[in-house]
Symmetry: C2
Subunit: 370 residues, 2 copies
Amino acid sequence: MRVVYSPAHLAHDVTTETVMGGVIPANEVAERAERIRTTLEADGGFAIDAPTEHGTEPILAVHDAGLLRYVEEAWPAARAQSLARPNLTADTFPNFRMFEGMSPEFVAGRTETRFAAGRAGWWGLDTANPLVAGTYGAARAAVDVALTTVDLVLGGEPAAYGLCRPPGHHAARSMAGGYCFFNNAAIAAEAFVRAAGEQVAILDVDYHHGNGTQQIFWRRGDVLYVSLHADPERQYPFFLGAADEIGEGEGSGANLNIPLPAGTDDSGYLAALDRGLAAIADNPGDVIVVSLGFDTYGHDPIGDFALTTAVYHECGRRVAALGRRLVILQEGGYHRPSLGANARAWLRGAEGRPYESLPASGFGGDGSDR
Amino acid sequence: MRVVYSPAHLAHDVTTETVMGGVIPANEVAERAERIRTTLEADGGFAIDAPTEHGTEPILAVHDAGLLRYVEEAWPAARAQSLARPNLTADTFPNFRMFEGMSPEFVAGRTETRFAAGRAGWWGLDTANPLVAGTYGAARAAVDVALTTVDLVLGGEPAAYGLCRPPGHHAARSMAGGYCFFNNAAIAAEAFVRAAGEQVAILDVDYHHGNGTQQIFWRRGDVLYVSLHADPERQYPFFLGAADEIGEGEGSGANLNIPLPAGTDDSGYLAALDRGLAAIADNPGDVIVVSLGFDTYGHDPIGDFALTTAVYHECGRRVAALGRRLVILQEGGYHRPSLGANARAWLRGAEGRPYESLPASGFGGDGSDR
């Protein structure tokens, strides 16, 4: 399988994030993508390509221009305001309840503020989304990775994998969040729809609900969004991801959320996956954009599922068995030692290569990653 | 002047807050209220009363029942989820942009989540609002302090001062934030309107915009809200507080925001105050609820104004000179050494007692507070 990767992600070198008011070591770190890259290189069956530049137009097809400008300007603007913290993290957010009783027209007239903390909150969902000097370049490169992966599939590849970092699925049209700045999968899906004139399905198998992707295509009938994820009752992003969220308008019925309980294991996950794949099979289209996360893994430090490396191979196999072409884009997954083996298993499953050929020791059977 | 105070605030013993992703020593601490109480006791001209209990009905007159329940349950609920942090601080917030394009009906159907971090974000505006075991009792007592102050004025006092802590003006109908849980001033104003059947004016002279008070009375013509504050372009709460926010519906014209620049000094502040007082004088009513903050002081660690202790005396004098009865409620102010002297100056000004009788040394002329 062809893999698209850019070293530009290394400049998004965050070291901490803020959770429930406390500073903790960052989960979404450069090592994640490097673990996956080196494991795929070692496999020998993957050809790694550099992305080609696609400019900002495909980003602006799904994002507000203000968000793009914010991500580009935020770091130098914060520095110009003499903010000396190691990263830019918001602390105040325009909770929709702040404006309760105010007319939609009034709320629509509110604008971002000049001061960095307020501006970051205006465009943000949470405090676990640190922005540093290299974030914009990395986020732009991640989009180019996604779009180059689309190009490969449009060019005839049955499946291709974009090793995007930072991830994207929490980024809404006008909001970053959850380690995400631009929604790589949504940008890829939109680019595919525009290029091919076909419907597309997005299958989101990250542990977390892809609130951004859901929001972007909420009223769209030509992009089916199917997500398996931890029930937002107990997990980020909390405020979206429930099963009763089916889309509205032309998008009504084109959003399928499958929230899952803590402790979800291989068999429970595969049953949910089959449900998601059945929904995709019921809809027209020849391509699936996969938002691929490995925070569903049993040892993930954020997640509470119990998946094994073996099941990722089976997941890849079942997704490919639908017979559609696959634009596979990396989202989350934070147990670094297993990331390479898990990605390798999923991608080998999607290509029809056996899982059994992997070494049997170590995390997910990948001794080189221990 | 009669002063209402409760020691219940001492149980809201927060030690840290989170600002731009970093943990810093708390600004809104118990010492603040104790500094003011001891200085007023030393003055000899203030009679300190305990509040009487008023129950939850006056709170529910301006707040969503869910917010009351959240503040009451949040700490034990977080403990039951084994959260071991020293306080409950939200990290993820329902930014209105998360729901962009979703219908108002859909958004109105979203509900709080069970997990503590998500629940705190649902009801919150920011990360600088730590909740601890004693928060609910303290917040309830602060409301009782405010309502007892209203009782004193309804009973004939020309002016009375409620030493509320935690403060209240950032708390909206369905949202806590900015060290505030229940909106003491809004609850007091509503209680006065209901008891007296008269219009009331709220004069908010805290350094920050009282977004909660504005939101609660946004469509009300019987409560005039006038606020002098740091321009939200550069200061919390960022997303509300601009001069073009005048209210809507029956409340159109009953909201006056006067944003002020960094470095605002005594003369600039008095000019703005006169503008606010003129607006109040143009409206009917016999009572002013004053949201009194001293974060406008030159040495305040949060603020960027340059006010002196002497000007607080003049502010109190000018407010009282309107000839209306005054329900004076404490909001912010974080330069602890000066808080007692500044409160004493304001209140003596409001009673017509001279500023000159204060000792001349120390912060704001109050040597005992150094």
